[in-house]
């Protein structure tokens, strides 16, 4: 017991020393670092004394976890998972010490301010902002699975697909910094995402940088897993001439090429390429901003008649098949149209669950088939090998499939409430209608890319915006309860 406590003491002291050294290295003001050092040595002496007395375990440093859906659906073996994690750690660091890879264009200073444990320095500067403000919903991985997430509706965003809904860019484009900043400052009305407008500008900037960091890291993880699946994996060993190498019994020799870009220059190139692929859309985001034609923007000083005319046109479009808003938002705009669809985050999980259920069914029918063949006295070796492989896959998939929160449908917005998640400025609504909402069933009706032709003209989109803004005040001619028919699923 005593020896264990002593071991812990040594570990804690070592960690404290490292911590202090890190701070000394990072700090630009040496005397401040000295103060920190003395303050921390006192603190850590106290802490170590406490550990020696009470013997409590120190909480392990938080670390990033691999995305189980990506790993299991790409059939990444435990060895490769470890290697992917190593590569990600080398590129992005840890939640306590994130690394802004120069190629990623991320800002190290902002990341450092946002990352790590939440504390305030002597000057009152808050550190560890992500863990202070965001982690309990968005999770340490940015997977939207923090401890509070389960109880929220809608669930917090999973950043790892790199898709964001409320932005001023074209549908497939990334959000700009200004877009992310707007969401942080305003929150997302109608959801649990609050406004962080009380934070300083530099704190908000640090957080938006960290959100980008988690997204880029998540996208990188998915693409690396796909690369490992596509290009690596256990394979038959081949000699220089491309012929299979056989063992003494004439069976092909298998080999597993490790995923280690640090020692394999070819893999190093691939990882760089993938990073470029992931980064390019982030870097191009500011070229992808939707700019409504100057002459099409409605005047501020329109007469009630002019507004009424525009609302009437918008109404016609809303209930017509050209804009087709009513099919989802419902015949009275209550959001009671198409309600059994999913957004991409739910779809990813649903597809995973469905495939798992299908595999389970297939296993049952394979067992029956093997029994039948057995009764007929036929060979079943091959069938049994496949069954065993499928059972092993199922064993990997089931715990992941069961780990999801209840999957919810994407319910179209009830437009009579006057609550707009992406902001209530006319420009916000224009962007939602024109580009659609990325990741959701909501399609765009405007140009899909700079210079492209949209289904609706600029003027028509402004008409729809006018009508949508007018909808909460329009008497419902045939009032209906706003309850969606699948409310039981929502209640879950």
């Amino acid at each position: 017991m005593r020896r264990r406590a002593a071991g812990r003491l040594i570990a804690v002291v070592a960690e404290a020393t490292q911590y202090i050294q890190r701070h000394q290295n990072n700090s630009t003001i040496p005397d401040r670092a000295m103060k920190l050092t003395s303050r921390y040595s006192v603190l850590f002496t106290a802490a170590t004394a406490l550990v020696a007395l009470v013997g409590c375990e120190q909480a392990p440093a938080p670390r990033f976890h691999l995305n189980p859906v990506v790993m299991v659906s790409n059939e990444i073996s435990p060895e490769y998972q470890q290697e992917v994690a190593n590569v990600l750690a080398a590129m992005f660091g840890t939640p306590d010490a994130p690394y802004a890879l120069p190629e990623s264009g991320l800002n190290q200073q902002r990341l450092t301010l946002a990352a790590g444990a939440a504390w305030s320095d002597k000057q009152g500067v808050d550190r560890g902002l992500y863990r202070k403000h965001c982690v309990h919903c968005h999770g340490i991985n940015g997977d939207g699975r923090g401890p509070t997430a389960r109880f929220l509706n809608p669930y917090p965003r999973d950043y790892r697909q790199g898709v964001f809904k409320f932005k001023t860019t074209f549908n497939p484009a990334k959000p700009t910094d200004a877009d992310l900043r707007r969401v942080l400052n305003n929150g997302v009305p109608g959801t649990s995402m609050p406004s962080f407008s009380l934070l300083t500008e530099s704190e908000v900037d640090a957080l938006l940088e960290y959100v980008k960091y988690l997204s880029i890291r998540g996208e990188m993880e998915t693409k690396l897993a796909q690369y490992v699946y596509d290009e690596l994996g256990e394979a038959e060993k081949e000699d220089e001439n491309g012929n299979p190498v056989l063992d003494e019994d004439g069976n092909p020799v298998m080999e597993r090429p490790p995923f280690d870009p640090a020692t394999n220059p070819e893999q190093g190139e691939v990882v760089k390429e993938i990073l470029t692929e992931v980064m390019a859309p982030w870097q191009e985001a500011s070229d992808q901003v939707i700019v409504p034609a100057e002459d099409g923007i409605p005047e501020d000083n329109r007469t009630p008649e002019e507004i009424g005319e525009s609302v009437a046109k918008g109404r016609e479009l809303f209930y017509g098949t050209k804009a087709n808003c009513f099919t989802c938002h419902g015949p009275t705009g209550l959001g009671d149209g198409q309600q059994n669809d999913y957004d991409i985050w739910s779809k990813e999980q649903k597809a995973f669950q469905d495939a798992t259920a299908q595999l389970q069914e297939s296993i049952v029918s394979q067992q029956k088939e093997i029994a039948r063949l057995g009764r007929e006295g036929k060979e079943t070796d091959e069938e049994e090998a496949k069954l065993a492989a499928d059972e092993a896959t199922l064993a990997l998939r089931q715990p992941v499939a069961h780990s999801f929160y209840p999957i919810r449908n994407a319910i179209p917005r009830n437009l009579r409430k006057g609550v707009y998640r992406g902001g209530r400025r006319r420009l916000d609504l224009y962007c939602r209608v024109s580009a659609g909402i990325a990741g959701t069933p909501m399609p765009g009706v405007g140009a899909a890319a700079p210079g492209a032709q949209g289904t609706l003209s600029d003027e028509e989109i402004w008409n729809v915006v006018d009508y949508v803004l007018n909808l909460p005040y329009e008497p419902a001619s045939n009032p209906q309860p706003a309850l969606p028919w699948n409310s039981d699923q929502i209640a879950n």
Binding site: T321, Q338, E383, G444
Partner: protein, 264 residues
Amino acid sequence: MSSNAFRRMCTVFALGAAVAVSSTAAAAEWGTVKGKFVFKGDVKPEKIVPNKDTEYCSKHELVDESVVVGDGGELANVFVYLNPGRGKKLEVHPDVKPADKPLVLDNHGCRFEPHAMTVWTADKFEIRNSDEGIGHNTNASMLFANPKFNEQVTNGAPILKQFTKSESYPSKVACNVHPWMNAYVLIRDNPYMAVSAADGTFEIKNVPAGKHDFAFWHEAKGNLKDLKVGKDKADRKGQLAIDVPAGKTVDLGVIEITPALLGK
């Protein structure tokens, strides 16, 4: 520079030239790969009862198209495509040209026509809505390498797209208004791909002679892992190395697909 180093450099150049010559010589020769898929099991295509635009869509006798089988078990919509490996380009036969007109994916009769198709990045791709007075959207948010999109398509105003990158697998395209509607589009930066027709057959012409990996994919399962093709077996990625001799046609014969292969 020492004379030794110079000589070494010359050798490297000479080698490079030799490799270049041999590769053009090899690529000037072409072969064909063909075959036929037959499903060894029963499929009863489930009827679809439309819950949107019911009056119009009900007229079209819609069925689930995830496994489309002919009377003799002929399996349609199996994708077969050459996979040269990451970042490797293939030469294209001089006669193989992109289509003059865009390849069309039509929203027609409350389904996508065709249900499965291939698009070479040199081709143009057009999405239409031929259902008069019916609103459709085309949601391609499952694209991986190319920009995702989700757009409203209206009558008489097709959407034109041009892709630039190869997707590793066929991508699902859906209409959110009519949740039963989906199609699969394979986008590649080479023309060496095919979808099996209603009679289960496929043919890929003008393949550069040599040994290539071919991928086999079906929407019900994805990669056709362990697919048996003649005496050979596809690997865990549903890929098989096939030797394509110059001027010859490799007939893979009848390729049997068991229900277990499609996860049934």
